[in-house]
Amino acid sequence: MSVPAIELQNITKTFGHIVANKNVNLVVNRGEILSILGENGSGKTTLMNMISGIYYPDNGRILIDGEEVVIRSPKDAFRYKIGMIHQHFKLVDVFSAADNIVLGLDEKFNMKEASAKGARIAAQYGFDIDPAKKIYEMSVSEKQTVEIIKVLYRGADILILDEPTAVLTPQETEKLFSVLRRMKADGKAIIIITHKLHEVLSLSDKVAVLRKGEYIGTVETKDATETSLTEMMVGKKVSLNIDRSEPHENADRLTVRGIDYVNHEGVRILDDVSFTARAGEILGIAGVAGSGQRELLEAIAGLSPLTGGEIIYDNPKTGEKEDLRNKTPMQIRELGVRLSFVPEDRLGMGLVGDMDIIDNMMLRSYGKGKSMFVHRKDPKALAEKIIKDLEVNTPSATTPVRRLSGGNVQKVLVGREISVRPTVLMAAYPVRGLDINSSYLIYNLLNQQKENGVAVIFVGEDLDVLLELCDRIVVLCAGRVTGVVDARTAKKEELGLLMTRTGEKEKANA
């Protein structure tokens, strides 16, 4: 029985009152690849950041080669030969590959020798690298190569890769995997974070599953199947008792056909996405983080330029069909298509933290009125109405929004957007970070809108909520629609599988 290369015992980490990791236990041996599987926000990256010295655990022990160690900084992590390849590359853009590789080391400064050593490591594992090439001239996979060589250069023999395949093409992924297998044969311990099931099954020896920060368990890959892993990952269905009425209208309101979006880095974010949102129903959008949800909503709101496809809006007032791609964001808003978007930061797009509730109402109405002075009376009435109707907990309407709690911020934002009687309401992660009561209030608001005949598009991350709140659910995976399911009959596992389905599998099924 050999001593494990790294062992975690009862690791716990909290940020404020949010528990990111709770009693996590992991064991990785040398010559072994462990996958860490979990949904968004299940605490995978936080856990790895604790091993690599970015965060410090509140509780628990880390053992390297059987001895307890304290990792307070990335430097400590190097000393224990731990190397992390971050999801968002930690590279300096204006530096060359070689500069990045030697960054922060204490050895003698000799770029020539360093380049040679870097090239030697690259050759050993079958990488290609030009040490003099600047990072900003590199493709994503080249950058990743630099990251990997950077940690190997430091002599790492415990490697952590945070979603390394998220940005790679299938060919690049295959190449990376062959490199990882060679490292494994070389006796390195490798931890790979991913939510792509087929990668887990094809690459790893063991799988550890996290769910909402909690450690669910570790299984041998050879005993696991896609279904069993999905079950561990998404858990048993929890009943939430969200009211859901039958949709009583059925008119198509918004038809998205084959839209493509390529971001400024040349990465394809949306790939031939099509779906229809109907009046009087809630359409859910499910998918792991970064599957293109944000870009999709922004595209509908006219905020991101598409490279292909069309977005047809059935105007209920005129009965005409209009392509939103030809319209400015302002025109789209005037048509009644409203975006209430809440990205990672609490305040989101559309509220200004340092301004009070009334001023935030005016952000939508400042263009109205005839005189040169802004009209403050109506926004004030609206702010007071929202505070009263939605039970916003605030000292007054003149309190800066920043000082309100997350749930109240959310109510202000949603309240303002629904006050203009939209025909399409898009809400992204509207309950993120909210307590149960506030969440239900938001669900009720969305349901009311649905009953008023609004086409509601709800982007969520909690599958239980999606299944109970929505009427239909569109599943996105890596920018493609992998399925549209009826939320009343769909199973949680079914969604989980669709969310993690990859390009190749989809082609095989088609």
């Binding site: 940020f15 992390m84 930690k90 590279l91 204006v94 530096f95 030697v102 960054l103 922060g104 080391l105």
Partner: protein
């Protein structure tokens, strides 16, 4: 011909404070901190030297000063004054992560007020009729130059007639360029300014680099103020005579695209543009003021040109002006 040499000579004299100021600011900005307090820091560097020198000259009498002490006392006072300013800036922006622009501007206001307060007090103490302090004895020591400078004709004047601080300024600029471009410390410092998260993950102590770069930068900039008083102004301090040289130094940083070696020539060019109106015959005051504007105009042109070319190497450090906190999420 003679006039050209005189003009170049004066341009260099005018350029040295800018060279020191911009070299200091480049080091600071390379750590990701935009220190708009440089004008105040240079001012404090000047007045601190003046205070030291004034007390020493008054103490022993201007005739009896020891040349070594006459240089050393103002030099150390100046360094201490500007270091203190740098530390205030660091504590606020690095440790407390205050807004850099606001902090910098506050320091400039504070530094100018500090200088004028003590300048005014010393003028009162000295009981002068004119509103200035004259420290000729110390200035004479400061302005000691190569003995053979005058024997070599105009070329000798142009190259060898400066004080030690002027040569030090050039050496510091070259040294700064070498450190930034060729050493591990420079590589790490540039990484801190470009992407502190990357530097942190690579095991670099980000805050230490920020502190050291900013404080050393402030001390170098402070020497610019010292040079101005004891060399350029011949040891005469009068309030607000330093003018907008501090802002010119900051503009110069942009002009020389964050490279201290370019700042050597840039500062002389700026110095020349700043005084060229004196060498153009028959122009009125308003035209003179317009010509004094040209350094800023040139800076804007450089800014437009580099922004249009979008070459990554001529852009400011990517994290310039941003605070860094590791557990930010």
């Amino acid at each position: 011909m003679g006039a050209l040499f005189v003009f170049l000579h004066r341009a260099i004299m005018q350029g040295i404070p800018l060279m020191l100021g911009s070299t200091g600011e480049i080091l600071t900005e390379k750590s990701g901190h935009l220190n708009l307090g440089i004008p105040g820091i240079m001012y404090v560097g000047g007045i601190s030297g003046v205070i030291g020198s004034f007390l020493y000259e008054q103490g022993v009498g201007p005739a009896n000063i020891n040349p070594a002490l006459a240089v050393l006392i103002p030099l150390l006072c100046s360094l201490a004054g500007s270091l203190l300013m740098g530390l205030i800036y660091c504590f606020l922006t690095v440790t407390l992560r205050a807004n850099q622009n606001v902090t910098g501007l506050a320091l400039t206001t504070f530094g100018t007020g500090f200088g004028n307060f003590f300048g005014g007090s010393l003028i009162k103490l000295s009981g002068n009729d004119v509103p200035s302090i004259t420290l000729t004895a110390t200035s004479n020591v400061f302005r000691t130059t190569f003995p053979f400078a005058n024997k070599l004709g105009p070329l000798g004047t142009l190259f060898f007639s400066y004080s030690f601080l002027a040569y030090a300024a050039v050496i510091i600029a070259i040294l700064a360029a070498w450190v930034l471009g060729r050493t591990r410390i420079g590589l790490n410092l540039r990484a801190v300014g470009e992407s502190p998260a990357t530097a942190d993950a690579a095991g670099i102590n980000v805050n230490r680099y920020k502190y050291v770069a900013t404080c050393v930068g402030s001390m170098i900039a402070g020497l610019g103020g010292l040079y101005y008083v004891f060399d350029y102004a011949n040891g005469v301090w009068s309030n607000n005579a330093f003018g907008d040289r501090g802002w010119l130094a900051i503009a110069l940083v942009i002009f020389c695209v964050w490279r201290p070696n370019i700042s050597i020539f840039g500062s002389i060019l700026f110095g020349g543009l700043f005084i060229v109106h004196n060498y153009i015959p028959n122009i009125d005051v308003s035209t003179q003021e317009l010509i004094k504007m040209t350094p800023y105009l040139v800076t804007i042109i450089v800014l437009v040109a580099t922004s249009m070319r979008k070459k990554r190497e001529t852009q400011p450090p990517a994290s310039l002006g941003l605070s860094y906190f590791r557990e930010d999420r």
